[in-house]
């Protein structure tokens, strides 16, 4: 067994060396040349050094360590695969769309005064898995081909929201987290007293857990999207939930995401907070029509899960935190009259709705204009 485990270690060390040599032998674009490449190499080196020191320590020679050596290998192997699949793949795939998106995200960071290095944006996702972000890997992944479209792009701000949530250590909703938890603790006591625990306790316990586990973060990411891009985020969200989930599913929640209905409500609350009254009215009108067909599918216990007062509390805390952190909102950019990515996205949504037959030409022109601003060739 020991020889077999030593073979596994040797194999992984060799794989690391091959990938590292490949990265070192490539010509890298200046966007990723220093930080991203160096960090990726360091992550591979860190795995390598752990395996090498285990080999040198002698623990691989003794049976008493067999299981532990195998668990260590399993973790190292998973870490290797993760870095290989996400960072190394993003490096190999760093082409024209990635160069374009790095310019876009750098401009977004600058416009909203986000005091951090922008992540790499890679088109290594697909339409099933859509947009995703992993702060640890400093990557936002978008579906391939996304560089030709504007109407999904507000969702990139949602992913930026995940990075900001990690950067701020969840502080933009830390009081809300306590308020939400207390609310559910109280509700659980109430239904026990009411004698309705058989019906509702399980769902309330689960909701209490999921709010802290993932829902609160998702809500704050929706707020980042709305705070930074106004109504365009609301339209993109409506597009996603109508095309992706279907009208009958808006009250369904998952381990990772709160129900779409509640997400739309918090987005509308943020539009109101930003003073975007006309936009809010238009979004709400469309949303009401959408809701009219779906109310019949609303589950009985749904009203317990996302009380309006909790959503309002989250919006207030988030807005104050972002203002204090001096992060520019869409309203601020709008009032300054400067051309910004968020203004472009709002214009795109207005054009698509008011003049759909001209939208194709508009979108191509807008993207080419953006590319020209970045010094990139036309598509």
């Amino acid at each position: 067994m020991n020889n077999f485990i030593k073979a596994l270690y040797a194999d992984l060390l060799h794989r690391i060396d091959v990938v590292v040599a490949d990265i070192k032998g490539m010509m890298h674009h200046q966007d990723i040349k220093d930080r991203f490449i160096d960090d990726t190499l360091n992550q591979f080196f860190s795995i390598r050094s752990e395996l090498q020191s285990a080999l040198e320590s002698g623990v691989l020679e003794l049976d008493i360590f067999s299981g532990n050596n195998l668990y260590r290998f399993n973790r190292a192997h998973r870490e290797f695969k993760a870095i290989h699949s996400y960072r190394y793949l993003a490096i190999k795939n760093y082409k024209d769309p990635e160069i374009f998106f790095y310019q876009v995200i750098s401009q977004i960071y600058s416009e909203h005064r986000i005091n951090a290095l922008p992540p790499i944006v890679s088109t290594i996702s697909n339409h099933d898995y859509y947009y995703w972000a992993v702060p640890y890997f400093e990557i936002i992944a978008l579906p391939s081909g996304e560089e030709h479209s504007l109407l999904n792009l507000p969702d990139m701000y949602h992913e930026i929201g995940h990075l900001l949530h990690s950067m701020f250590g969840g502080k933009s909703c830390e009081i809300s987290a306590i308020v939400v938890d207390k609310h559910f603790a109280k509700e659980i006591v109430r239904i026990i007293d009411d004698g309705t625990a058989t019906h509702f306790q399980e769902v309330l316990e689960l909701a209490r857990y999921l709010w802290q586990e993932s829902w609160l973060e998702e809500f704050t990411c929706d707020l980042v999207g709305t705070y930074m891009t106004g109504a365009s985020y609301a339209w993109t969200n409506l597009k996603l939930l109508s095309t992706g989930h279907g009208s009958t599913k808006i009250f369904e929640y998952s381990q990772s995401h709160p129900a779409d209905e509640a997400r739309m409500r918090i987005i509308i609350l943020m539009l109101e907070k930003l003073g975007l009254d006309d936009d809010k009215k238009k979004v709400e009108t469309a949303w009401r029509v959408f809701l009219k067909d779906t109310e019949v599918f609303k589950p009985n216990d749904y009203s317990l899960l996302y009380p309006q007062k909790l959503l309002q509390h989250i919006v207030e805390e988030f807005y104050t935190f972002y203002q204090n952190a001096d992060l520019a909102s869409h309203t601020e950019l709008l009032n300054k009259g400067v051309s910004s990515i968020s203004c472009l996205l709002n214009e795109a949504w207005s054009t698509a709705q008011s003049s759909p037959s001209n939208y194709f030409a508009y979108e191509i022109d807008s993207i080419n204009q953006l590319r020209a601003n970045f010094g990139l060739s036309r598509v």
């Binding site: 623990v59 008493i64 260590r72 998973r78 859509y130 969702d155 992913e159 381990q255």
Partner: protein, 147 residues
């Protein structure tokens, strides 16, 4: 807006817990074998420092306390709550009365700074194997999540 971010967060949490526990057990085992001349002559680097030993005991105490607390109350804020859906964790750890009592003994030894026995370490190894299994499950889901 995919499940990827959450899954990665969960994976990372379980994986780090597994690693902390595993490295601590390796340190304690190294301490045991480094008293045997036959081994140290062949592998002088097996020896561990007092600092490494203290760190290992502190980590073991913290993680086994997590488990003890989880036996008392399956609190959603406990890091081990991630494992609630894992059948091995349910059957081999949570519902296993013998294991529960043995872990309580191990924890008592750690609290009173007594050396752990081979049996204690074997029990912790069993817990590590279940954590490693959960990390593997989450990692597989992570890959599936990307399509």
């Amino acid at each position: 807006m995919s499940d990827f971010s959450l899954l990665y967060k969960k994976y990372n949490s379980v994986s780090n817990l597994t690693n902390d526990l595993n490295n601590s057990v390796i340190t304690l085992k190294r301490r045991r074998v480094s008293t045997i001349k036959e081994y140290t002559d062949k592998h002088p680097k097996l020896a561990v420092t007092e600092d490494e030993l203290t760190k290992a005991n502190t980590l073991l105490l913290a993680i086994l306390t997590l488990l003890e607390n989880f036996y008392k109350e399956q609190d959603t804020k406990n890091e081990l709550y991630e494992l609630m859906d894992n059948a091995l964790f349910q059957n081999q750890i949570l519902k296993n009365v013998v294991f529960k009592s043995e872990i309580a003994n191990t924890l008592a030894k750690l609290k009173s700074s007594k050396d752990l026995s081979e049996k204690d370490l074997a029990n912790i190894d069993k817990f590590i194997s279940i954590l490693d299994n959960e990390a593997a499950v989450l990692f597989r889901k992570l890959r599936t999540s990307r399509g």
